[in-house]
């Protein structure tokens, strides 16, 4: 059952019950009041009638005649009964009121009782009357059919009013609910649109009630979802690009491996050619190995790393030591300077990043040049005086497989993953990587840490 229907039914049931209870109470009160008024009037009429019956001293033969005469002389005498010793002298009401009343003999006051006789409600007002030492029982019968009729009419009116109130309440509630739930419908509609792919859909928030706050939260959620979707799309795109690039990158060495191995297995070649082919195979295999190692590192860096506070100086020294052979071969010198600082780091990863940066600097620099490795403030800087990077390329060089000069990089054994790896490592350290470069002057790469301490 829908929420609106449930609320409507519950509300209308409640109001109907409330109206019924109220009407019943009111009718009960009115009925009591009417009975009370009738009893009061009957009491007054009875007392008035009683007053006309004065006590006289008469013979026993005449006393009945006297009493009958006096009662007949009363207004509305039809309503009175008169009896003595259980025998009625006057009774035109059709039943025996004496049977319904136990008049208190100790008190000379009238008694009243409501009874139901032959399907009608009547009020009996009775009293013992004494005359010439004879005791008579005088009772007045008041027909309350009029009250019953009025009550029935009133009950019908109450029922009518109650039904009208319930119906009106139903209509008002229906419209109020419809108006109140309209924003929910809009919410529903927008949610469907978002689910259908329209991530820009939002709900206009018009007020600050619960629905309004829900709409605000929904919009916030929609923003987050849109952003996540965008990020996921971007990530997906990047992954796809990575895969595309990887495929592309892998294709060349694999092709070379296949070619050379096929040459060796299917043709008769000279020793020189064989040697060259094997050398080529070896180079390509090593290249693929380096590529896969870098890939592995990249994959490993997808998870979180544990950072430990460590001094910077040993890190720089370790990096220098790792690239010593490359420096010697390239005839390039590495100058290390470092302040006495500690940073939160993963020593091996950071060393790997610095090694990548230094090797890139080596590849970019001419022989007899210098590369600086500086640890100052909260930064580690790798600075070379090589050929530099065009400004328009700086933003992209940290993308996987991106190479400024592809042919030259490959020639030097580059895979295009080094700076991507450095970027990943820097990000994992919650640091910032910044590249400054000028073509023909050199390149400086800054790694800024946020928690460097002395």
């Amino acid at each position: 059952m829908r929420l609106k229907t449930r609320i409507l039914l519950c509300a209308c049931t409640l109001i109907a019950v409330a109206v019924t209870v109220c009407c019943t109470l009111i009718l009960g009160i009115v009925r009591e009041q009417m009975h009370s008024d009738a009893a009061e009037k009957a009491e007054e009429a009875f007392i008035e009638a009683r007053r006309t019956i004065s006590s006289v001293d008469l013979d026993a033969d005449v006393i009945d005649t006297y009493m009958i005469y006096k009662v007949h002389d009363v207004d509305s005498s039809d309503a009175f009964t008169l009896s003595r010793d259980g025998n009625y002298l006057i009774n035109n009401v059709g039943f025996s009121p004496d049977s319904y009343m136990n008049i208190n003999e100790d008190y000379r006051e009238s008694n009243q009782v409501f009874v139901r006789v032959f399907g009608k409600n009547v009020l009996l007002t009775g009293e013992y009357v004494y005359c010439s030492n004879q005791r008579f029982r005088l009772t007045m019968v008041t027909d309350l059919s009029g009250i019953d009729r009025d009550m029935r009419a009133l009950a019908w009116k109450c029922a009518g009013v109650g039904a009208a109130v319930t119906a009106l309440f139903f209509l008002l509630t229906y419209f109020l609910l419809s108006a109140s739930l309209r924003p929910v419908k809009k919410l529903q509609s927008v949610a469907r649109r978002i689910a259908g792919g329209d991530y820009h859909a939002r709900i206009a928030v018009k007020n600050r009630d619960e629905i309004g706050l829900l709409a605000e939260d929904f919009n916030t959620m929609a923003d987050a979802v849109e952003q996540s979707i965008a990020e996921l799309k971007e990530q997906n795109a990047r992954k796809q690009q990575f895969i595309n690039d990887l495929s592309h990158e892998m294709k060349t060495p694999v092709t070379s491996l296949l070619l050379n191995s096929e040459t060796l297995t299917t043709r008769t070649v000279s020793d020189e050619d064989r040697q060259r082919a094997l050398l080529r195979i070896n180079e390509q295999a090593k290249w693929i190995e380096r590529l896969s190692q870098k890939l592995m590192q990249l994959v490993m860096l997808q998870g979180s790393i544990e950072l430990v506070s460590s001094p910077v100086r040993p890190l720089l020294d370790a990096a220098k030591e790792t690239v010593a052979d490359s420096l010697a071969r390239a005839q390039i010198s590495l100058i290390v300077s470092c302040e006495d600082r500690s940073i939160q780091m993963d020593f091996d990863l950071l060393r790997s990043a610095l090694v990548n940066l230094i090797e890139n600097a080596i590849k970019a620099s001419d022989p007899q040049s210098t590369i600086e490795l500086i640890g100052a403030d909260n930064q580690i800087i790798v600075c070379d005086h090589g050929r530099g990077i065009p400004k328009e390329e700086i933003e992209r060089i940290t993308e996987p497989f991106y190479m400024v000069d592809r042919s030259r990089s490959k020639k030097l054994g580059g895979s295009g993953l080094g700076l991507a790896l450095v970027k990943q490592i820097v990000d994992a350290h919650h640091a910032e990587l910044r590249i400054e470069s000028e073509v023909g002057v050199g390149t400086s790469i800054f790694i800024r840490f946020s928690d460097a301490k002395r």
Binding site: D61, T65, N91, N92, V93, R116
Partner: protein, 503 residues
């Protein structure tokens, strides 16, 4: 859960069903008249009420040897009760009791009456329709009423200016289609058949707005006859019969200023006398004796097969005189009462008519009144007839005269003593009892929506009540007289019969 709820609901329903209101006790008590009937039936348990009574006596009442006397003066001297009366009892020595209902004038009776009155002459139906007014008549009316309006004298016609103007406008409208010449309505010959009439009263204050009745209303050279009875159970209407020998302009009317309804209004001097129905003399020079006049009426009724009637003992005679003092005519007031199984019904002339606001269903006492003059029966007014429906007892056990007298002596003092002080004004009352009679009185059944009741034996004390008091504003001494029934004692149970209410 549902399995637990269902038994709980069933138990609750059963418990609620058990809480019903206590059924009515079957304690039915008969009404007063029925208890009266039961009392008589019990006492006369072995009586065979199917037997028709023997020959009716000529004089249903006979005078007892014993007279009734009583004297009383109250402490302050304002009440004086004196009785020195003949006592009359049924000649049969029996006191019957019957059930009665109020209806009598059947189609057959009306036809009989018609045939008797008109006897071979032609009588025409008197219609309520009147011929349309001519232009001249309307013009005269319009001019007259317009003058009343202009001079502010519309009250002469008991209407205000607005009503008068409304009438004028209606007549002006009627004038447009009014005939120039008077169009006579051709009279229709009557064959004595009663016609069903329908009457609607537009007066908002009318109690009965729609009345249906049967009517025979005729006029001929033998007089005017009007007989009506209600249709079905239309209780707004009571039977009546009016016959007048002379044309309407010569009808003898009753005096409006009179304290009694028996005083007539004549256009010449007259002497009034009270005669006995047995008087066979013409003591005042009249042409017909009271006895002859009475017998004339009796035979008239006998020809209609109405034999259960008896003239009342005293007759009022109005002897009119010529300018020279010689007797011109004598008009007799002769009232008849019904007799039931040999016992006459009480002569109730002084009972007031029921006012609608006092009694819901009007039921006046039956009156049969003849006016007889030297030419014969001048008029007959027979109103509110009663029909005996069942004999309860042909001889109910009744109180003795002594018992009834005891009740009278005690109750008359109580009743009339209370009347000697009216709004702190002293009233002097003289009650004179001239006749005591054991006769039948009609009592009606209380709270019944119809005209049904009983004829019960009652000791009826006839006489005169005279009240004297000083009118508070003018200080004039007012003298009120009532002649008729002073008190009626139910001879079965000793209760006082309130003739004003009929029970």
């Amino acid at each position: 859960m549902k399995q637990k709820i269902l038994p709980i609901i069933m138990v609750a329903v059963l418990l609620l069903t058990a809480c019903q209101p206590t059924p009515d006790r079957d304690i039915i008590v008969q009404k007063d008249t029925e208890r009266l009937v039961e009392t008589v039936e019990l006492k006369n348990a072995n009586e065979d009420v199917s037997i028709e009574p023997a020959d009716m006596p000529d004089n249903p009442l006979v005078k007892m040897d014993e007279r009734y006397t009583f004297d009383f003066v109250n402490d302050n001297g304002r009440l004086h009760i004196h009785a020195d009366a003949d006592v009359y009892v049924p000649e049969t020595g029996k006191a019957p009791m019957t059930r009665v209902k109020g209806e009598y004038f059947t189609d057959a009776f009306a036809k009989k009456m018609f045939d008797k009155i008109y006897q071979g002459t032609t009588a025409y139906i008197v219609s309520n329709e009147s011929r349309p007014a001519t232009k001249a008549e309307l013009a005269e009316l319009i001019a007259y009423y317009q003058e009343l309006v202009d001079t502010g004298r519309t009250e002469d016609k008991m209407m205000d200016e607005e009503e008068a103007i409304e009438c004028i406008n209606e007549w002006k409208e009627e004038y447009k289609t009014a005939p120039d010449e008077a169009e006579e309505i051709q009279p229709v010959v009557s064959d004595g058949t009663m016609q069903l009439m329908d009457s609607t009263d537009d007066d908002p204050a009318a109690v009965f707005k729609h009345v249906q009745y049967y009517e025979l209303r005729t006029s001929g050279e033998r007089g005017q006859l009007e007989i009506r009875r209600p249709a079905e159970t239309d209780l707004s209407f009571q039977d009546y019969l009016d016959y007048h020998r002379d044309p309407p302009d010569k009808w003898i009317g009753y005096s409006e200023s009179s304290n009694t309804p028996r005083e007539i209004d004549l256009d010449k001097p007259f002497d009034s006398h009270v005669c006995s129905k047995e008087d066979r003399t013409c003591a005042y020079g009249q042409s017909m004796s009271p006895y002859d006049a009475t017998e004339l009426c009796r035979s008239f009724l006998a020809e209609l097969d109405v034999t259960d009637v008896e003239p009342v003992s005293s007759i009022d005679a109005y002897v009119t005189k010529n300018a020279d003092g010689s007797v011109d005519d004598c008009i007799y007031f002769i009232d008849f009462v019904r007799t039931v199984y040999g016992m006459p019904v009480a002569y109730l002339t002084q009972c007031e008519s029921y006012m609608f606001e006092e009694v819901e269903i009007p039921w006046d006492y039956e009156t049969i009144r003849f006016l007889v003059d030297s030419k014969g029966i001048n008029s007959l007014n027979w109103h509110y007839p009663v029909q005996v429906t069942k004999l309860i007892s042909s001889d109910a056990a009744v109180l003795t005269l002594e018992q009834a007298a005891n009740i009278f002596e005690n109750m008359s003092v109580i009743i009339y003593d209370a009347q000697t002080d009216h709004n702190d004004r002293p009233v002097y009352i003289d009650v004179l009892i001239s006749r005591v009679e054991l006769s039948l009185v009609r009592v009606r059944e209380k709270n019944e929506q119809g005209r049904t009741g009983l004829y019960i034996p009652a000791w009826v004390f006839y006489g005169k009540k005279v009240s004297n008091y000083r009118e508070p504003v003018t200080q004039e001494m007012i003298d009120e007289q009532m002649t008729g029934v002073v008190l009626a004692v139910n001879a079965i149970d000793g209760s006082i019969i309130d003739l004003g209410h009929g029970y």
